[in-house]
């Protein structure tokens, strides 16, 4: 008797949980079918984000939601569905399939894998769904990847450093992580720039893993080894680590490119007057929001200029990628303004952020 | 013909069987008798191939049996019904009965229908009316034992071994089993019948082999051997054949009763009454598996039991061992490794845990003072050690046992219940432990000791209770002799309370 009673209780409570979950869902509504068949003015957009475990990605999703809100108010987007996979391909496939099955108009994907999602993406395209991979890229000729132009991003900083040094001096390259696609592209840009200046001598190239602590540790030993460092080229996430190493060595940091964190900006604003100069180009989490702008435009039937579509940086045989230039560059001249308007008072994990405005995005379309 | 030649089994330094030989003749029922620890079970397990002998040979029909291989034993026509059963609880009745000898059809698939048919045949033969697809684990004990016998029957063996097969059976089931066994004998099967019930042995067996301390004493034809002669063989020494004296306490002066149990009853106990006085050592003897362990566990609340219990300052049964400990009743298990010491912990921790365990769960376990007390106990008990903080598993068995005593003493108990306190302990430590037990009693603690070692009981106890089939059938006092205890244990079957067994055999 007891056995039966208990089992029933558990089964009932299980059902209750399901119903509760279902009930929670209804108010926000599933207007998917209506919007799909409608005038084409109100869209359901799914965002399949491959990973949510760091600040950058969290900020990226928040940006997407912020931009989506303005479109929701205008009635262009009826619903934005965000799904996060835990770097697990099968989970992301399942989420994409669920989006297909719930009849979204477009799926934006920050992909876990450049290749494994292809069948799922083809299914979506078969169902007439627009697929926009962003941030990372997917190797499929029929999608339109939206990603930051890593080459021009890295080139900007390197060029600035070379100019500031007037073409001669000893420099350190503090790069990210060997073997990662983005790193390969950036390294190419660095080499292309510095090889033009015979007077610039690269003392050493090290990998700081885009991590502050690693960068600090590596820099500390470099300071001890080379007394004559004139400049440092570094990428995002490591600038403050380098500064910390100099502070610990009781030295002033030389000319260096910086990073996008609040911590670095704070140091820069405080030491600008005492001769610290830097250059930051944002590699913004806002790429998601930018991709959303592109998605909406494409859903509305606009066509990209053929000049906007370039070779896929991972698989150059495919021409399917919009390389978005960084929307914001910070130098000594606009530092105070950027600091005051976007960075001041933000938590230390916040990254310098920006995304293309609708009119900037328009420029990519016919 | 099955011949056993010089079978020997050693477990480390312990010799379980020292060169046993016997012959099973087709068409006969052969009894195997022996007191506790005489090596019966070891012999049976060797026949079944579960235990590999250290030395010796088994010949089956003039061919050497591959030892240590149950499959080969089965192949040679030996089927064993084990005392502890060899069933898989989660599998169905039919699957269990034919486990290991499933009929297979074409392509190697198990022939489900023929399997069920053969199982049904056996169930019919045993008079069991149970659905063949119920999991065996859900069936009562007696039916499980019948199935264990069924498993042997279904193999149509030439040699069948029944190890205490009747112990868990009801009277009419025993009767049915005997008729089956007798008809098998008539068909020319040789049966080895291991039992402690003399009535049953005399009812069906032709010959009997007696084991003592792992050696064969002799094989006798039962038609011209009396029970007394068999008992003599089992005990070994020449003793008076008059019933054991039953004096009432002359050596021990009664003090206040500190543990009193009334009509304890559960699956293994059939109404046990018991009293232990302060300063008294009461022993529990009897053949193995007559409910001794169940009784100890019932007293400390480790199993469910009905009945009544009274101790100093507490009325009623204990809910669990912790409840018992909180009321000054401490238990020292015979299974040191699993239920006694914490092997990877220090001597110190092993000692103080006994006291700490009765504290409220969140109370801070203060170290102050404990250290001193533990050190004093270790000195007092002469535990051989190099540090109070060394791991207990590095100590000898005897020293581990002493650590358990120290733990018990540290908690200042009123009653201490012990199960086989000197199992696997060397002779000198054994004497030390016995002295310790006497000292403990001298301080007014009541002790209850179960032991399969009759010499031990005779040596330390004031009074010995003999258990048989879940009851206390005898009480021995006065000048205790090991042989008396052994004899009383064996005779348990024939004493007043064992009459049930007698009538059962007579009615066959």
């Amino acid at each position: 008797m007891l056995k039966k009673g208990l089992a029933t209780t558990i089964v009932l409570s299980l059902v209750a949980v399901f119903l509760l979950a279902a009930g929670c869902g209804t108010p926000t509504g599933k207007s998917t079918s209506s919007s799909g068949s409608g005038s084409g003015k109100s869209f359901v957009i799914g965002v399949a984000n491959g990973y949510i475990g760091n600040d950058w990605r969290t900020q990226m999703i928040a940006d997407v939601q912020q931009v989506a809100k303005t479109y929701e108010e205008k009635g262009v987007i009826s619903k934005l569905i965000v799904e996060n996979a835990n770097n697990d391909v099968t989970q992301q496939i399942s989420q994409i399939q669920n989006m297909i099955n719930s009849g979204v108009n477009a799926i934006m994907i920050d992909p876990v894998s450049a290749t494994a999602l292809v069948p799922a993406i083809q299914k979506a395209q078969k169902a007439g769904i627009l697929v926009i991979p962003f941030d990372g890229v997917v190797n499929n000729p029929k999608v339109t990847n939206i990603t930051t132009d890593q080459y021009s991003w890295a080139k900007g900083g390197a060029q600035w450093l070379a100019d500031q040094l007037h073409g001669k001096g000893n420099i350190i390259l503090m790069d990210g992580l060997a073997g990662v696609p983005a790193e390969n592209i950036r390294a190419q840009a660095e080499q292309d720039v510095f090889s033009k200046y015979p007077g610039i001598h690269v003392l050493q190239k090290v990998f700081g893993g885009w991590a502050e602590a690693t960068a600090e540790q590596k820099m500390t030993s470099l300071i001890a080894t080379y007394p004559n460092i004139d400049g440092i080229y570094t990428q995002d996430g490591m600038g403050m680590g380098i500064v910390q190493a100099y502070i610990a060595a009781h030295k002033k940091p030389p000319l260096m490119t910086g990073d996008v964190t609040v911590g670095f900006f704070k140091y820069w604003t405080e030491h600008q007057s005492s001769g610290f100069h830097s250059y930051v180009e944002s590699n913004p989490p806002g790429i998601g929001a930018t991709a959303l702008e592109f998605t909406v435009n494409m859903l509305q039937g606009k066509k990209l200029k053929s000049s906007s579509i370039q070779a896929n940086p991972v698989d150059t045989s495919q021409t399917n990628t919009v390389l978005v230039k960084s929307p914001l560059t910070v130098t000594d001249t606009n530092l105070q303004q950027v600091w005051n308007s976007t960075m001041k008072g933000k938590p230390s994990s916040y990254s310098l952020d920006a995304w293309l405005t609708p009119s900037q995005v328009d420029a990519y379309f016919q | 013909m099955l011949t056993i030649e010089g079978l020997r089994k050693e477990y480390g330094a312990v010799v379980a069987l020292q060169g046993a030989s016997l012959t099973l003749v087709p068409g006969t029922i052969h009894a195997l008798l022996g007191a506790n620890g005489s090596g019966k079970s070891t012999l049976v397990k060797m026949l079944g191939g579960v235990v590999r002998p250290t030395k010796g040979t088994i010949w089956v029909d003039e061919q050497r049996l591959e030892v240590g291989s149950p499959a080969h034993a089965i192949h040679k026509g030996i089927a064993v019904s084990y005392q502890e059963t060899s069933l898989v609880p989660s599998m169905s009745v039919a699957d269990n009965v034919l486990l290991g000898i499933e009929p297979t059809g074409k392509a190697g698939y198990v022939a489900q229908r023929s399997l069920r048919e053969r199982a049904a045949e056996i169930l019919d033969q045993l008079g069991l009316n149970i659905p063949p697809d119920v999991p065996v684990g859900e069936l009562p004990t007696n039916i499980q034992h019948l199935l264990e016998i069924g498993k042997a029957l279904v193999k149509r063996p030439k040699y069948m071994v029944l190890d205490e097969a009747t112990a868990a059976l009801r009277r009419e089931e025993v009767k049915r089993l005997f008729s089956i066994v007798c008809s098998l004998r008539d068909e020319g099967v040789a049966i080895l019948f291991v039992s402690h019930r003399f009535d049953e042995v005399y009812a069906i067996c032709d010959r009997a082999t007696v084991l003592r301390n792992g050696a064969v004493v002799g094989t006798r034809s039962l038609s011209n051997t009396s029970r007394e002669e068999l008992i003599q063989d089992m005990i070994g020494r020449r003793i008076s054949l008059e019933p054991v004296q039953q004096k009432t306490g002359t050596s021990f002066k009664k003090q206040a009763v500190c543990l009193k149990a009334r009509s304890l009853t559960n699956a293994e106990l059939r109404g046990v009454d018991l009293e232990v006085s302060a300063g008294e050592i009461v022993g529990i003897g009897g053949l193995q598996g007559q409910g001794q362990t169940a009784l100890l566990r019932a007293l400390i609340g480790a199993t469910t039991v009905r009945g009544d219990l009274e101790t100093d300052g507490h009325q009623g049964l204990f809910r669990n061992p912790s409840h018992a400990a909180g009321n000054g009743v401490r238990f020292i298990s015979g299974d040191r490794g699993r239920e006694g010491v914490f092997g990877q912990r220090s001597i110190y921790e092993n000692i103080v845990i006994g006291r700490i365990a009765t504290f409220p769960l969140w109370k801070r376990a203060s170290q102050r003072g404990e250290n001193q007390a533990a050190r004093a106990l270790v000195e007092q008990l002469k535990i051989v050690h190099h540090s109070l903080f060394q791991e207990v598993r590095g100590l000898s068995g005897g020293n581990q046992q002493k650590v358990l005593f120290a733990r018990t003493l540290a908690s200042k108990p009123n009653v201490v219940i012990l199960d086989d306190p000197t199992k696997g302990v060397d002779v000198s430590t054994r004497m030390e432990i016995h002295r310790l037990l006497r000292n403990l009693a001298g301080e007014g603690v009541g002790l209850l000791i179960a032991s399969s070692d009759d010499e031990e009981l005779a040596e330390v106890c004031d009074r010995v209770l003999i258990m048989y089939e879940g009851q206390i059938v005898r009480e021995l006092t006065g000048d205790l002799q090991p042989s008396h205890i052994t004899k009383a244990s064996i005779e348990g079957a024939q004493s007043e309370k064992g009459k049930g067994a007698e009538t059962r055999a007579d009615s066959l």
């Binding site: 208990l6 089992a7 558990i10 089964v11 299980l14 059902v15 399901f18 119903l19 979950a21 279902a22 869902g25 949510i52 965000v82 799904e83 996060n84 770097n87 391909v89 099968t90 989970q91 496939i93 399942s94 989420q95 399939q97 669920n98 099955n101 719930s102 009849g103 894998s113 290749t115 494994a116 999602l117 292809v118 069948p119 299914k123 | 079944g48 149950p70 499959a71 080969h72 089965i74 084990y82 502890e84 060899s86 069933l87 898989v88 609880p89 599998m91 486990l99 290991g100 190697g108 198990v110 489900q112 169930l123 019919d124 009316n129 119920v134 684990g137 004990t141 499980q144 034992h145 498993k151």
Partner: protein, 328 residues
């Protein structure tokens, strides 16, 4: 004479069979899913769900074999990965034919099972340690074979995987194939002996069952099913990824437990595990279509699975009141 036991008794038995738990959970999941997702029974939707379910069911079948025999196999996920990267890199970088690559991939997976089985049953090292270590080793090998996601299998392979054959979703046919493959073992002696060895190892020995051999084979079985799962998954994703199988070790164990198989061994069924695996797939749908905010999805799906596990646990304890007189 024995009376034939009545229907009611038989019904009780079926209800209390361990597999039932998995299927009841699956049905509840199905109903809940259908409520939040009205399109659930469209062929394309069924197809895509089964496409994800097929690999998990395969791994769960193999895991059940090991768990029934009283073991555990944590290396199944890495075997899935190994098969995936081997098939893809052999096909796309070494230009073997696809089917040759597939045979190699499955054979490599089975080889891992042979090593597992040997170390566990013959050398006698605990399964948890062996398969955990094996997981790291095999994952490392997979990373060495294919350090970055990439490669591609022939398009017709993954198109077949996503298609229907005779009106039935192709992955469904693969699941049927997996179950039939299992039945080949289940209804031979090995199928019974897995349960016997897991349920009572001494008794199995006493009955002449080759315990070591049975244990050994259970790991080969689980590796075989895991590498077939790797092949299915490769067809689903069309390319190689050195991290692709990571989630299968724990998910397969969850499926096995949800399906009413006792982790201690000796009791359970593959059909229950299949139900458990399908339930796990449905939970993902349910949290999606119930509009659970993405940040809470992991929490909610985790809770649902925990409730499912608790239900199984309680039902199991309640129904499986096994009492044998002599515990060993």
């Amino acid at each position: 004479m024995r009376t034939p036991f009545n229907l009611n008794q038989r019904a009780t038995r079926i209800f209390r069979s361990p597999a039932m738990i998995g299927w009841v959970l699956f049905l509840i999941g199905l109903v809940a899913n259908a409520i939040v997702q009205p399109t659930l029974f469209k062929l394309s939707v069924i197809n895509s769900n089964l496409g994800l379910a097929a690999p998990l069911i395969m791994v769960a079948i193999g895991q059940t074999a090991v768990v029934l025999a009283g073991g555990i196999d944590l290396s199944v996920g890495s075997i899935v990965t190994l098969t995936n990267v081997l098939v893809v890199s052999l096909y796309s970088f070494h230009h073997t034919g696809f089917w040759l690559a597939a045979i190699f991939g499955v054979a490599a997976g089975m080889a891992v099972g042979v090593v597992n089985g040997f170390i566990i049953s013959v050398v006698r090292i605990p399964a948890l340690l062996v398969t955990f270590a094996m997981m790291s080793i095999v994952n490392g090998v997979a990373l060495a074979i294919l350090p970055q996601p990439g490669g591609q299998i022939p398009a017709d392979i993954y198109q077949i995987y996503g298609s229907t054959v005779g009106g039935l979703p192709f992955p469904f046919l693969l699941i049927v194939f997996g179950v039939l493959l299992w039945m080949i073992f289940r209804y031979r002696k090995i199928g019974r002996y897995l349960i016997a060895v897991g349920g009572a190892d001494w008794s199995s020995r006493a009955n002449g069952i080759p315990v070591t051999k049975v244990r050994f084979q259970s790991y080969i079985l689980s590796a075989t099913f895991a590498s077939l799962a790797g092949l299915f998954l490769t067809s689903e994703v069309s390319s190689g990824d050195p991290l692709i199988g990571a989630s299968y070790a724990l998910n397969s164990l969850a499926a096995v437990v949800l399906g009413g198989t006792a982790l201690a061994g000796g009791r359970g069924s593959v059909s229950g595990s299949a139900g458990g695996a399908l339930f796990l797939i449905l939970v993902q749908n349910i949290v999606y279509f119930a509009n659970v905010p993405s940040y809470y999805q992991t929490l909610v799906s985790g809770l649902i699975v925990v409730i499912g596990l608790a239900t199984t646990g309680v039902l199991y304890v309640r129904s499986g009141k096994l009492h044998l007189t002599n515990g060993r």
